[in-house]
């Protein structure tokens, strides 16, 4: 049994107490003295030329302090893009300017045109209605292929076309891949859409800018997953404020799922306006505004082909994707369809040759960037769908076809043809586990029973690989990242032995305050209650990259272990002095330093007190105090993997899909808090099922957002979703981080969409609808019914 409160314990979350009593402190709960309110007037058309903005009437209205338009931002930088892609010809991607407020043209519905600052939000909103916008409609491009056609309207007039980049990976393998296809015994082809989604964390974005003119200090309170990244991007690239004069605070944040990674115009605006007006400026997004201003996710159109030899071994994969960038490049948008997608195309399989082509396209839609999984769900969906389709075409069992081509447990480390090396895994084990706990063997009988009731039952399987904790910094730098990808931690031991941790990682639901304390408590052998975790404020945390890509424990936790080990090493030296023993003989266990083989000991608090009250202390050889900082830059990604099984029943009368059971067998390496890990998987699966069955962000051909609220965008609700059976007992620890952990935040969202769609197709095929080989997501009743009835 794990020590209560230590690694492996399902410790209750300490943060829950404040959340459950209404005492969380979210950004919108912050109201500063003298605060003014900002209201963003946004474009209602997808594409238009701004001929004039008349703000005179608005400026004269009650309570209005100032109205800002693009001309107030002359000399201010645009929103930066954090990742540069080099195309297949060695050329840099086309990178348009992204102004804080629209300049000359509006490029998507929601593009901000002007901002009213007033004493109250109502006054600001009323005044915005009095702004006269003269915007001349231009034809909009919404569909990616149409956007690339000759003569298509250009989103950015100064670019040569709407093509951001045309990326080939691995370009050198292309000819060999073609050759393998020419020699293939069988080729399976699948065309699919990975639809646009809206991340929809329940807390809308908020920014509060504050300025202290007497010290020239700016502070931004914001709903961010990574306050240091915002400080760096906004300070250095947008507003020209040096870091020591800029503090960014991300307090309690109500979910992120990727969409709160990015630096947004509203953050820069509120910081800028607070400096101009010398008073705090607050902006709170409404949900409708979130739909047209939060970066969206996915939106890929793909054709994938799988080549097999006559023994059903995978011999090559080629895939061609159109990836929607929207109207501007959001912070990490270019990396999602490329390095976060192409590198995952090997999946769990030994396919020797892979070629990935991605065309990234500008359209008159909201920018698209990372959403839970980011590139990896898109890779997994196409791969796991095409394998299923191949199994059907070849008349072989989809489980066996996967197994036959799995990278085997004794083949790790395994270098794939798409530039990554998996350290550990055991895919047969996770597959076996999933089949066991889902009672796959009993499926046929259950299908019979469904049939008697006039229902079609299907079982869908998906096996995923994920790459988490993107790294190392020098490699991603070569790949175009304009940021490092390390993480940091400061361990400040207090005189009486309690510990204050400052992490560059950020929690917006993941429970770091509990789990990070468990790690430190276990390492030192003290009660977790003695350890406090601080995060989210650049004023007290070391420079860190924040939380996304399932990196917190694998990267941030590793920094924490490193810093804690530094503390322990110093504490041992102090203990050796106090115990008059050699440092090599000092052992730390259960919060006590003992001279090996003796009963001489000093407890943790005795050592920490000596560090700060150094009366009996080797001052000649060691500084007083006990505080260490570490930065950890991973040597590789981590590679969680798992088998997902979904059992559905389709109503042939209505096309309605009901999920009867959902089983996940994941290998996350070692697990610190099983309860929290399971919760992360539940949430990921829910979002994946949401994508598979419900959610879809729809634009009409004029670029109007049709699904712009919860009335039209189908968020999964409690009675849409099943219970989940999740297991993480298959463990192949990561070999290159100290905790042997892999990351669990995105797995559910990656593995579940193909499992669900494979199940729906299986149900239809078993029900005699053998012509249905694919249904695009979401598999809504109307789509399923139409597919069944198309002949």
């Amino acid at each position: 049994m794990p020590k209560d409160g230590g690694i492996g314990a399902s410790t209750k979350r300490r943060e829950d107490v404040r959340f459950l009593t209404g005492n969380g402190r979210y950004t919108d709960d912050i109201n500063l003295r003298g605060q003014a309110h900002a209201y963003f007037l946004r474009s209602q058309v997808a594409h238009g030329k701004i001929n004039g903005i008349d703000t005179a009437a608005a400026e004269a209205m009650d309570g209005v302090i100032r109205v800002f338009t693009a001309k107030d931002f002359e000399g201010v930088g645009g929103m930066p893009c954090g990742w540069q892609i080099t195309d297949k010809h060695g050329q840099p991607m086309q990178e348009p300017k992204h102004p804080i407020l629209a300049e000359g043209k509006v490029r998507h519905v929601g593009d901000p045109v002007a901002v009213v600052i007033a004493e109250t939000l109502e006054q600001a909103r009323d005044a915005a209605e009095a702004i006269e916008l003269d915007i001349e409609d231009l034809p909009a491009v919404v569909d990616m292929k149409a956007a690339l056609a000759e003569g298509a309207p250009k989103v950015h007039d100064d670019l040569t076309s709407n093509l951001c980049y045309d990326w080939g990976f691995v370009e050198e393998n292309k000819a060999a891949v073609e050759d393998a296809f020419a020699k293939a015994a069988h080729v399976t082809t699948l065309e699919l859409v990975n639809q646009r989604l809206v991340a929809n964390p329940m807390e809308p974005r908020v920014a509060v800018g504050d300025y202290d003119p007497w010290n020239d200090n700016s502070t931004l309170y914001t709903t961010s997953q990574n306050p240091h990244v915002i400080r760096l991007l906004m300070g250095a690239f947008v507003l020209g404020i040096p870091e020591h004069k800029l503090r960014v605070v991300a307090p309690d944040v109500g979910g992120g799922f990727g969409t709160k990674i990015f630096h947004y115009a509203e953050e820069a605006f509120c910081t800028f306006a607070a400096r101009q007006l010398k008073r705090p400026v607050k902006w709170t997004s409404s949900r409708s505004e979130a739909f047209i201003s939060d970066a969206h996710g996915r939106d890929h159109v793909t054709k994938i082909q799988l080549a097999l030899d006559d023994a059903n071994n995978f011999t090559a994969i080629r895939t061609e994707t159109y990836a929607n960038m929207g109207a501007y490049l959001s912070t990490f948008a270019p990396s999602v369809p490329t390095w976060l997608h192409g590198t995952l195309m090997a999946g769990n399989y030994r396919t020797p040759l892979i070629y990935v082509n991605v065309k990234a396209v500008f359209t008159n839609t909201v920018p698209v960037d990372a959403y839970r999984g980011a590139g990896r769900p898109e890779a997994t969906f196409q791969l796991e769908r095409v394998i299923d389709k191949a199994a059907r075409e070849l008349g072989v069992d989809p489980v066996e076809l996967r197994r036959q081509n799995f990278i085997k447990a004794d083949q790790f480390p395994y270098a794939t043809p798409v530039a990554v090396e998996y350290d550990t895994g055991n895919y047969d084990a996770t597959m076996d586990k999933m089949l066991e706990i889902s009672d796959y063997a009993g499926f046929a009988a259950r299908a019979e029973e469904s049939k008697k009731r006039g229902k079609l039952r299907g079982f869908g399987i998906a096996h995923y690989i994920e790459a988490c904790g993107i790294a190392p910094s020098n490699l991603v730098g070569q790949l175009g990242a304009r940021a490092g990808l390390y993480e940091s931690a400061t361990v400040r031991v207090n005189a009486t032995g309690s510990i204050s941790i400052y992490t560059g990682s950020h929690s917006h639901g993941q429970g770091h305050e509990t789990t990070f304390a468990q790690v430190v408590a276990e390492m030192i052998g003290i009660d977790a209650g003695q350890v406090e975790i601080n995060h989210g404020d650049t004023a007290n945390t070391p420079m860190g990259m924040g939380t996304y890509g399932s990196r917190s424990l694998a990267v941030g936790g590793s920094a924490l272990v490193k810093a804690t080990n530094k503390v322990i090493n110093k504490a041992k030296k102090i203990a050796a002095h106090l115990l008059e023993a050699s440092e090599a003989d000092i052992e730390l266990a259960d919060g006590k330093f003992t001279v090996a083989g003796t009963d001489k000991s000093v407890d943790w608090a005795g050592v920490t007190l000596a560090a700060y009250v150094p009366h009996n202390y080797p001052l000649e050889s060691m500084e007083p105090g006990l505080e260490e900082t570490a930065f950890y830059d991973p040597s590789n990604f981590t590679y969680p993997s798992g088998a997902y099984g979904c059992e559905v029943e389709v109503d042939p009368e209505t096309g309605e899909v009901e999920i009867l059971a959902f089983t996940a067998a994941d290998d996350f390496g070692n697990v610190v808090n099983p309860m929290i890990v399971e919760g992360q998987v539940h949430g990921g699966i829910a979002q994946g099922i949401g994508q598979a069955l419900l959610e879809r962000c729809v634009y009409d051909e004029d670029g109007q957002l049709v699904s712009g609220s919860y009335m039209d965008y189908a968020m999964p609700r409690a009675d849409d979703l099943p219970n989940y059976t999740v297991d993480h007992s298959c463990v192949t620890p990561c070999t290159h981080n100290p905790l042997g952990v892999k990351g669990c935040g995105e797995a559910g969202a990656i593995g579940s969409p193909p499992a669900v769609i494979n199940a729906v197709i299986d149900a239809l095929q078993r029900g005699g609808h053998s012509h249905v080989t694919h249904i695009d997501m979401p598999a809504s009743p109307s789509r399923v019914w139409a597919a069944m009835n198309a002949q």
Binding site: K12, D16, D28, G679, G683, A718
Partner: protein, 162 residues
């Protein structure tokens, strides 16, 4: 602006409201009770649920001026008198029924209303009742377990350690 006086969590409180001020923003901005959250502008998410004269309401659908004289309970009023978590709150913690915590006040208030109406709901009834409350983090599994446990029924699955 009109003065609105009401009882909140057993205490008489008053503040100023415009005709268009919603109860949700009145509680948050005027009374400083920021535990009630606002997650949408179409009355769909349930983050703002409070109890008004014993009934669960979405406070974003109620005008502040219309609640003059009413008795309102918010999430801030759900703990026990000694400050410890109430039964439903404790069940949410024990069963990991929250992650980011943003939907949580509304979930707890809605669950309390359900159990007042139907002390031993089935799991399907819990899911159906919570249809008006969106959670993006938990996938609902543990919320449903928490509500079942709070009703004194076997929740199954893992329970947190101390």
């Amino acid at each position: 602006m009109t003065k609105v006086t009401l009882t909140v969590n057993g205490r008489s409180m008053s503040g100023q409201a415009e005709g268009r001020t919603l109860l949700s923003s009145f509680l948050r901005e005027e009374l400083g009770l920021t535990g009630t959250h606002v997650g949408c502008d179409t009355s769909q998410c349930g983050a703002c649920v409070v109890h008004m004269d014993g009934q669960a309401v979405k406070s974003c659908t109620v005008l502040a001026q219309d609640v003059d004289g009413a008795s309102v309970t918010t999430i801030e009023g759900m703990a026990n008198a000694d400050g410890s978590l109430g039964t439903i709150q404790q069940a949410f913690q024990d069963h990991h029924g929250l992650q980011c915590g943003f939907c949580t006040p509304g979930m707890v208030m809605a669950s309390a209303a359900l159990l007042a109406e139907n002390p031993k709901p089935t799991e399907a009834e819990v899911r159906h009742y919570l249809e008006g409350n969106i959670c993006r983090c938990t996938g609902y599994h543990n919320i449903v377990k928490a509500v079942m446990a709070a009703s004194g029924q076997d929740a199954g699955g893992a329970v947190a350690a101390e």
